[in-house]
């Protein structure tokens, strides 16, 4: 029996693994919609979001525990359902991927309109289901490669913005950022090790600017990925370092973009898949 779509299946499997680890992490931190108990929304400057808001769907989970739970159930069960159907009833895989895309869109739109997190940080959930729509291995591989380019753009543009908007040309930039980001921690938790550490960075602009410059260089390093896949493993390492330092120094948890790591991790697998014309790929 021929083994089909091994490359695609492996990526779907890892997507689900990451999704459910993050689900557990969010539940532990009270970040499910039913745990947020949204009471009001805050309109953001986004034209497509305005069209979405025109439907009034975002009003429904407000003060509605059952509605929030239903949203959570749909959002968190969709990848598992897709994973199972993709394996057992493959002819429905595309339809289920489209349903997952719609669920993700509605959930993320609503979730980020409430006091929770930025929509930019949820971009992985908005884009990944699109890649799962085609069942043909070759189409999947090309869309997945497109996602890799998007991820490279995601980081590289952050570095370019730091040049374009001038942050990189001010040596006291990071001191200003840290003061702004941690003003509550600094004023209500004096003496705490993280407060002391941040205060030290604020007062020593050389060190704080060094961190800012390093992060900008790290982000700009993703430009290399547009020209070669040779450094993808290094970019993964850079990405992980970025996430960890973001939590340590900025107290920002940006873990929902982790699924993009797959686009770099599976680079070598894609090469292998190409070489063998998308026949079985071992050890994925």
């Amino acid at each position: 029996m021929p083994v089909k779509n091994t490359y695609r299946s492996a990526i779907i499997k890892w997507y689900c693994i990451i999704f459910y680890i993050l689900m557990f992490y969010k539940w532990m931190n009270g970040m499910f919609l039913y745990q947020l108990q949204p009471f009001f929304f805050y309109t953001r400057p986004d034209f497509i979001t305005w069209l979405f808001m025109q439907t009034g769907v975002h009003n429904w989970p407000l003060n509605n525990s059952a509605g929030c739970m239903l949203f959570d159930v749909l959002f968190y069960s969709a990848p598992l359902l897709f994973f199972i159907l993709d394996k057992k009833l493959n002819r429905f895989a595309s339809v289920v991927a489209i349903i997952m895309l719609i669920i993700n869109w509605i959930y993320v739109q609503c979730y980020t309109l409430y006091p929770s997190n930025s929509i930019e940080g949820h971009i992985a959930w908005l884009l990944f289901p699109i890649v799962f729509i085609p069942k043909k291995e070759k189409t999947f591989q090309l869309l997945f490669e497109g996602l890799r380019y998007f991820f490279l753009f995601f980081f590289a543009s952050a570095g370019i913005w730091k040049i374009a908007q001038g942050g990189l040309f001010h040596t006291d930039e990071m001191s200003g950022v840290l003061l702004y980001q941690h003003k509550e921690l600094l004023t209500n938790s004096p003496g705490y090790w993280q407060s002391n550490f941040i205060l030290y960075l604020i007062q020593h602009t050389f060190f704080s600017y060094f961190l800012y410059l390093s992060s900008a260089l790290l982000e700009l390093g993703f430009i290399a990925g547009f020209f070669t896949k040779k450094f993808d493993r290094y970019l993964i390492a850079a990405f992980i370092i970025f996430l960890l330092l973001d939590q340590l120094i900025m107290r920002i948890t940006y873990y929902e973009v982790i699924p993009f790591i797959l686009t770099l991790w599976f680079t070598q697998a894609a090469k292998a898949a190409k070489k063998f014309s998308f026949t079985p790929v071992e050890n994925l």
């Binding site: 931190n29 009270g30 970040m31 108990q37 009471f39 009001f40 929304f41 805050y42 309109t43 400057p45 986004d46 034209f47 497509i48 979001t49 305005w50 069209l51 025109q54 009034g56 975002h58 009003n59 003060n63 739109q109 006091p115 929770s116 930019e120 884009l127 085609p134 189409t139 090309l142 869309l143 380019y149 995601f154 952050a158 913005w161 730091k162 908007q165 001038g166 942050g167 001010h170 006291d172 930039e173 200003g176 950022v177 003061l179 003003k183 509550e184 921690l185 600094l186 004023t187 209500n188 938790s189 004096p190 705490y192 993280q194 407060s195 604020i202 982000e219 939590q247 107290r251 920002i252």
Partner: protein
């Protein structure tokens, strides 16, 4: 090379991907409002000069001020974001609606429903919701709750220079 391959393989997907890429770049260059899923990933790219005056929210439960160091970043965000959103909503939401939302939706012949864009509530309704909400985060019964919006002066340390109930912001 990538686009050439995609074009030859599937013209429909090629059109979608190329449109997405072009819109993403144009939106970034124009620095326009977002157009989901087209966003700008600035990550603190604009210059933020170190301010000598800082505005902060202060929450005291049963007479004891809450400290950020006792909470994870997500938990602390859950405590403070509603306050910030509430204050911002009171200050800016109407402006965004009247200046941009109505105007831009009208261009595509859509009449905006005000209630879908502006959440109207008074401070009492907010506090009525916030009290049990906060209680579930800090896992403590709340007998008294005080929320202030304070200004601190920063030189080498922080000194409070002004404090007022946060619900008075912009209202």
């Amino acid at each position: 090379m990538y686009f050439k391959q995609l074009y030859h393989h599937h013209k429909g997907w090629f059109t979608i991907i190329i449109l997405f890429a072009i819109l993403q770049i144009v939106n970034n260059i124009r620095q326009d409002i977002a157009f989901s899923p087209i966003y700008q990933y600035g990550m603190y790219s604009a210059y933020i000069s170190p301010k000598d005056t800082l505005d902060v929210f202060e929450v005291a439960v049963n007479g004891k001020p809450l400290q950020a160091n006792g909470f994870s970043p997500q938990q602390w965000d859950k405590i403070t974001l509603p306050l910030r959103y509430y204050a911002n909503s009171a200050c800016n939401n109407n402006g965004l609606y009247t200046n941009d939302i109505q105007r831009l939706l009208q261009r595509i012949s859509v009449t905006a429903n005000t209630s879908d864009f502006i959440f109207s509530f008074d401070k009492n309704a907010f506090i009525k919701w916030y009290r049990p909400y906060l209680s579930s985060i800090i896992k403590e019964k709340i007998d008294s709750l005080q929320i202030n919006y304070s200004l601190y002066k920063f030189d080498s340390s922080f000194h409070k220079i002004q404090s007022s109930p946060f619900t008075q912001i912009c209202r």
